[in-house]
C-alpha cells in the first residue's frame, strides 16, 4: 500500500481498476439465488412430467412468471461472472481471452433474451 497515491487509496480500485465490483456482484447474485433456486426446484418438481397446458397455466400466474424471470436473470448474471473468472484463470493468450469474454457475455444476453421472450409470450 506504501506506493499508492492518496487518490488511488481513496478510490480503492486496486490493480484491476474495478475494485470489489466483481466480487460484490457475485455475492449479491449468490444470495438472490438462494431463495430463487429453492423456488425453482419446487416448481420443477411440481411440473415434472406435466403436459404443456399445466406448464403454461403455471407460468401464466404473474407471481410465477416474475419469479422465473428473476431466476433466469440472476442465474445468467451469476454464470457470466463465474465463467469470466474461469476464463481469466486458464486462458492466458490475450486474443483468446478477449474472444471468450465476448462469447461469455453475448451468449448470456442471447439466452436471457430468448428465455424472457418465451416467458412474456406465455405470461401475457
Amino acid at each position: 500500500m506504501g506506493t499508492q497515491t492518496p487518490l488511488a487509496r481513496v478510490e480503492g480500485l486496486g490493480a484491476a481498476h474495478s475494485g470489489t465490483e466483481h466480487f460484490w456482484r457475485q455475492r449479491v447474485s449468490a444470495v438472490a439465488l438462494i431463495p430463487l433456486s429453492i423456488w425453482f426446484v419446487c416448481a420443477a418438481v411440481a411440473l415434472a412430467g406435466a403436459d404443456r397446458e399445466a406448464v403454461v397455466a403455471f407460468l401464466h400466474q404473474p407471481v410465477n412468471a416474475i419469479a422465473m424471470a428473476l431466476f433466469v436473470i440472476a442465474s445468467l448474471h451469476h454464470s457470466v461472472l463465474g465463467l469470466q473468472v474461469v476464463i481469466e484463470d486458464y486462458v492466458h493468450t490475450e486474443g483468446w481471452k478477449l474472444a471468450l469474454f465476448l462469447c461469455n457475455q453475448l451468449f448470456a444476453w442471447i439466452l436471457g433474451a430468448v428465455s424472457l421472450f418465451a416467458l412474456v409470450k406465455i405470461a401475457l
Binding site: 449468490a30 412430467g49 404443456r52 433466469v72 442465474s75 454464470s79 465463467l83 428465455s115
Partner: protein, 133 residues
C-alpha cells in the same frame, strides 16, 4: 558450464495427481466444475421455456428428451450440480463473513456439503418422479 546445467534433469514440482486430495481442494474444484455444468444447464432452461411458449409439438420433443434415459442422467447431473453448488455456495458465503474458515471446520463442512447435496439431489429426483409422497 551453462550447457551442462541445462542437460541435468531439473527437479519438478509435483503435479495434481501426486497429492492426496484434501476435502477443501476437492470441494473447491467441484464448485467450479458444477458452476460450469449449471451454466450449460441454462441452455436447457431456455429450451424448456421456448418449448412451452411454442406449442404442444415443441413441448412434446422437450418432454420426450427429458424422459429418455440419457435425458434423465443429464437432469440428475444438473440437479446434483445445483444441490452441490447451492450448499457449497452457502459454505462460501459463511467463509466470506468469517465463519468456519479454520481447517478442521472447513474439512467437516466440506464432507457435510457433499453428503447433503447427494441426499438432496436423490430426494428431489424421487419427488419429481412421484416416488415419495
Amino acid at each position: 558450464m551453462a550447457q551442462q546445467s541445462a542437460q541435468r534433469p531439473r527437479p519438478l514440482s509435483p503435479h495434481l495427481q501426486i497429492y492426496r486430495w484434501p476435502v477443501t481442494m476437492a470441494t473447491s474444484i467441484a464448485h467450479r466444475a458444477t458452476g460450469i455444468a449449471l451454466s450449460a444447464g441454462t441452455i436447457l432452461l431456455a429450451w424448456w421455456l421456448i418449448a412451452a411458449a411454442t406449442g404442444p409439438d415443441a413441448y412434446h420433443v422437450f418432454a420426450a428428451s427429458a424422459a429418455h434415459p440419457v435425458g434423465q442422467i443429464v437432469l440428475f447431473g444438473i440437479l446434483w450440480s445445483l444441490a452441490f453448488h447451492f450448499f457449497n455456495g452457502i459454505r462460501h458465503l459463511a467463509w466470506d463473513v468469517g465463519f468456519g474458515f479454520d481447517v478442521s471446520t472447513a474439512n467437516r463442512s466440506g464432507v457435510a456439503v457433499v453428503l447433503l447435496s447427494l441426499l438432496a439431489a436423490i430426494v428431489v429426483f424421487l419427488l419429481a418422479h412421484g416416488v415419495l409422497h
